[in-house]
Amino acid sequence: MATKNFLIGIGGTGARVIESVVHLCAAGLGPEDLSIFIVDPDAGNGNLDRTKKIITEYRNCRNKFQKEESCPLFKTNINIPPGKNGFVWEIFSNTKATLSEFINYTNLKNSAPDLSDFASLLFSKDELEVKLDEGFRGHPSIGSVVMSNPPQDTYPFKMLWEDMADKKPNDIRVFIVGSVFGGTGAAGFPTLGSKNLIKFNENAKIGDGLSKVLLGGALILPYFSFETDSNTDEKMFVTSNDFPIATKAALQYYNEKDLGFDQIYFIGDSLGQKVGKFGVGSSNQTNSPHYIELVSGLAAFDFFNQPAIIGIPDKMLFTATRKDDIVTWDQLPFSRDSILLKSKQLSFKKSITDMTVFAYAFLTYGNSILKSPHVEIKDAWYRDYFKFKNTREEDKVKDPRNDKIDEMESFLKKFLFWICAIDDGSNNVQLIDRKMIVEEELNPSKPTELKIIDPQILNALNNIGNILSKETTKNLDFNNFKTIGLDQVDLKNAKVTEAYSKFLNIFYAATLNFNKLNYNFN
């Protein structure tokens, strides 16, 4: 493969965008190959923790899922740096580090008083003494000091420079994503995007202004608000009221700096949707997913999927806007190429709907089948594909009930949580209608404890045919999912031998049958 794709998430927003990217990859929308890592000093950040788990689960599900040839699910081979701590550059080796310790402020006072005076001019006492293991708390000036020299010979940055020998100019596509309004992202985006750190790193530089790296980035402008805990004892933290001024200052700074980015996507939203309660950092910081994170993932895919660039790339800046306050499928930005826009919109809508219906059907009806004794199941599709005697030891391999299902179940629950949480209940985001899928409010710290509505109960029978917000469909019900979906699946010639994978493939094929008729997908 000529090109290599890298996605670097910075801070909590970066982690949340990566979470969206992983879900989009699971729905079959990502590139063939993608390497991911995160930069965040807040190692215990709840958003980061959630993202780490979702990547691990994605990779495990992908490895264990034997797919039928045409099935696009889990298409992307997601690579992460090896080693227990390789995935996240936590910046500090000391978990309770302060800026004062990082710059040896106490020693400077004795050895170089001029420098220590200069440091105290740039940074307040609070900034020098605050513990940085929970991020930079909306103070990018601290972050830019400590992030300016990442270790290139150890993971995760080492991963960027592996297998470089045969690479031509712009073959290594590196996409950095971070928020402009917080601490870690605002510090990391211009620091990692500076010319010498990645773009013209000695491993990438070819000469004559050429580099093996094509550097892109998504700069996330303010897009959400959160509730602040008035009882907090913390002195330094960021609130959503600080976002506009922090953004203005950061953009002014970036404009003056000659950064190494070839292409930048500016992404933000003025709706200010609430994404949960405020946490200074650490595990307290778990927020609900937001559609802007999905859009940022689409920006990354647009960057990775662009045609090869020969020579020095032109600098490009991308923005997209909504027509009004309502976010619908046809308002999402998918491609820099306006000719492809319509087809990509349709393809995206189909992929997300397919994945959602698949996850919904599998987690409800599919699970109920797997929890029932084999002999009691009279459903035609099941009997056709799972012929075995569960009393015979040698027939155990033909039984789809095994441990592998648990991991897929957990991942699909997280997918449903993610796609449902994007609908914040305000009626502004009209993509998937979460009322059709989940019973009550979503808890971002417990994404797998979803109360999924059983589509087989009488008053929810039509839900599966109406998961798209404000769209007219054929209104087919869950019994139709069985009769025109599952009962019509034909996988007799598929080369899937493993029972658990066969079970999943049947559900996905049934989803395609059902969605084609109900949602008019081709």
């Binding site: 009279k378 459903d379 035609a380 009997r383 012929k387 087989q456 019994n479 069985k482 009769t483 009962d487």
Partner: protein, 153 residues
């Protein structure tokens, strides 16, 4: 064979052919060998043909009802109920067989027909009722309820 209306047509045709085989050929030769006290073999044969006709009608109607029920989308939502419906239908067919046999016994009480002959007649009636129902639904049930009939694996 499972698809509508093919399963309906095959079942009706099969029921009719079975009636011809049982009522015309088998019953014809069977009545010739019967020793009757009062009635004539022709009169008994006529009654037997009517009974077999009613049996065939009951069998066909029950199959048609099952095919219709099995073809409903809502049936896919409750296969346990479908199993109950199928078993009740089978029991009804057995009851119909017994009832038709009793009718024939009642109108021929004085004829002195041997128990083994009544057993043969019950066999002929059963061919049209519960056995016909089981056989037709075993091979021609709609896709959703294909594994509901007894012994279908």
């Amino acid at each position: 064979m499972r698809k509508s209306p093919l399963n309906y047509l095959i079942t009706i045709a099969f029921g009719a052919i079975l009636w011809v085989v049982t009522a015309i050929f088998i019953a014809g030769s069977f009545c010739e060998s019967l020793m009757l006290a009062v009635s004539t073999p022709e009169k008994f044969l006529a009654n037997l043909r009517i009974i077999l006709g009613v049996a065939a009608f009951a069998g066909i109607i029950n199959c048609i009802q099952w095919f219709y029920y099995g073809g409903l989308t809502s049936t896919a939502g409750n296969l346990k109920k479908a199993k109950t419906v199928w078993i009740i239908s089978l029991i009804i067919q057995i009851v119909v067989s017994v009832a038709l046999l009793l009718v024939l016994i009642f109108i021929n009480l004085t004829e002195g027909i041997l128990p083994k002959d009544w057993l043969t007649i019950f066999g002929l009636i059963s061919l049209h009722t519960w056995f016909f129902y089981w056989f037709s639904t075993f091979f021609m049930s709609p896709r959703t309820v294909v594994y509901i009939p007894l012994f279908k694996k």
